[in-house]
Every structure is written in structure tokens, then in C-alpha cells.
């Protein structure tokens, strides 16, 4: 039996493996327990930190839970009107082409009220990064049905499940955007397991590199959970997401650059 080292001997600065990045502020996140937003914020902050872009980053966050981004990321953030983040980001990137510009939007914002802005910004090939958090519901306002709600999925405005005859079909924004010529890199990821978090971080880092090279719009969808809106515990919601959301929104790259 190997001698058990005291915990105090392990906890030393030289043994540090992982620590919350300094780009994340010390404010307590106001998201519900287990919400994927926190993880998405943190990996975005880590990429900004590792690439040394803190002073050159301008984020755009519109309306929804994503609006609270400015509280937690120590970079410049501009708030946009509901759904209009890609339009604001277009203006910022055209006026300040040296900055790294990203938008951070939820599905109620990007896929509903902001559909036109998103599609046209991607079609014009604006050199911005769009991060799209898809949880299939309007999380902030109380779990109403969103365009991305799955068929049969219950929400507060579709209590018997979404009926596609009367309420329409879910909108796969990422698939639509991938068909447009202006986009350079389109991918769908998630942040519910360590492996997926690492993949998503890699995707964000790629998108940052492509923006430096002036390649065009990059679009990263993060399929996320909403434990409060789905009325589940965080662990249950992650499992439900794997079983129900991933067959409809399969993870992986939809458009990768041609080498």
C-alpha cells in the first residue's frame, strides 16, 4: 500500500491542473443549477484567455438568459435588441475589423424573432462568430414553446406536447445556415459531458482562428439543457437531452472548410 499523501501536500500552486479563468468575473452566476449556459460561458472565456484576446473582444448579447453574459465575462459586451445581435455584430465588425466579434444567442432569440438577421448575416458572410444555445424552449420567460421545441415535447404553452399539425415543425437553424454560401464553419456541439465540453472548446477555438484569417461567418450551435423549463433535475435533463434531443439535433460538424 502506497503511503497516502496528505491532501494539503497536493494543494499547491505548482500542482494546479484546472482553475476558473480570470476572464470570468467573481459574480455568482444567476442561472439555474445545472444550466448549460454557465459551461458555455466558461469555455468561451477560456478560449478568449488562451488566445490572448481579452482587450480585443467585443461580444453582442441580445435578449433571453444570454443577456446576462455581460455580468460574467470581463470583456466588452454590447446589448442588442431582441434577435438583432448579428446585425449589431455586423456593424461592429465592419467598423472595427481588428476586433474579435461574437454573438451569444438563445433559440428563442436566434431562431424566432432573429431568423432574418441570422440568415442574412450568414448569407452575407460577415466575419463574425455566432454562438447559438439551443434548449428547445424559451427558458427565461417560463418555458414557453420555441421554434426549436421538438414534436410532442411539453412546454408551458403546449401542455399536451407540440402538435405539428397546428403548431408547425421544429426549425433546424444550423442545417439551414450550413447550406448558405457565406458560412465557413458550421457545427453542432453540446456541453453536458467532459468529452463534449472539450469538443465544443475546440470548435470555438477553430472559429476564433478562422475569424482572424477573415474567412466568413462561423456558426456554433450548442445543444443545451433547461432543467427548470423542462421540469427535471439537471442529471435527468442531461439524460433526456441525450435520448430525445440528439436524434433530432445530431451532434457534429455540418460544414467544415475545404482544405
Amino acid at each position: 500500500m502506497i503511503e497516502v499523501t496528505g491532501i494539503k501536500e497536493i494543494i499547491k500552486p505548482e500542482n494546479l491542473v484546472y482553475k476558473k479563468t480570470k476572464i470570468m468575473t467573481d459574480n455568482t452566476l444567476s442561472y439555474c443549477p445545472g444550466c448549460g449556459h454557465g459551461t458555455a460561458h466558461r469555455i468561451l472565456a477560456e478560449v478568449i484567455d488562451e488566445e490572448g484576446l481579452q482587450s480585443q473582444t467585443i461580444g453582442v448579447s441580445p435578449v433571453g438568459c444570454s443577456v446576462l453574459l455581460y455580468n460574467y465575462l470581463d470583456v466588452d459586451i454590447q446589448q442588442a435588441a431582441h434577435g438583432r445581435a448579428p446585425a449589431v455584430a455586423t456593424a461592429i465588425k465592419r467598423l472595427l475589423p481588428d476586433k474579435f466579434v461574437f454573438t451569444y444567442q438563445g433559440d428563442g432569440d436566434l431562431a424566432a424573432i432573429g431568423t432574418a438577421e441570422t440568415i442574412h448575416a450568414c448569407n452575407r458572410g460577415e466575419n463574425i462568430l455566432i454562438i447559438f444555445i439551443n434548449n428547445g424552449i424559451y427558458g427565461m420567460t417560463g418555458g414557453q414553446m420555441a421554434p426549436t421545441t421538438l414534436p410532442g415535447m411539453k412546454s408551458s404553452t403546449s401542455p399536451y406536447g407540440r402538435d405539428v399539425k397546428t403548431m408547425g415543425n421544429p426549425l433546424k437553424m444550423t442545417d439551414i445556415v450550413a447550406t448558405l454560401p457565406g458560412t465557413y464553419y458550421v457545427t453542432r456541439q453540446s456541453v453536458h459531458t467532459p468529452a463534449n465540453v472539450r469538443k465544443t472548446k475546440k470548435a470555438i477555438r477553430k472559429a476564433v482562428q478562422y475569424q482572424k484569417l477573415d474567412k466568413g461567418a462561423c456558426f456554433i450551435e450548442i445543444v443545451s439543457n433547461c432543467p427548470s423549463g423542462w421540469k427535471m433535475t439537471p442529471v435527468q435533463s442531461n439524460k433526456w437531452m441525450e435520448e430525445t434531443m440528439f436524434p433530432y439535433y445530431p451532434l457534429g460538424d455540418l460544414k467544415t472548410p475545404e482544405e
Partner: protein, 74 residues
Amino acid sequence: MAKIRGSIVVNIEKCKGCEVCMVSCPTGTIAMAKEVNGKGYNYAYPLNPELCIGCANCAMVCPDGVITVYKTKI
């Protein structure tokens, strides 16, 4: 063969007790405390600290970024 030992430090006042770290831990190091923190959440803590291998899986998935991970070879 060198043995790898890890250790985690949880900021218990910011932990929201979502249990995502507990599920992602490959060695069963983490458990939820019976006590609650200032906000009323059962916070995460290392129940079996000697099992920790410092893989940082828990810190990777923690939505609130409250876990700090240390690792050393002995």
C-alpha cells in the same frame, strides 16, 4: 510505478448542487453534502479524497466553475 494523486477544492458558497460533477467523476470521489450552503443548496464535496486522480472532468462540466483541481505524482 508512480501513482497519480489529485485533489479538488470546491467553492461551496457558489456551488448550486446540480450533481453534474458527481455523475461525471470516473472514480466516485465527489458526493453531495447533507449540509447546505448559504443559499440552501447541498454543495459538492470530496467524499473519498484518496480516490481522486485529478482528471478535471468535474471542473470541466461544472456550470458555475466552482471546482479547482490539483494533481501530483508520488
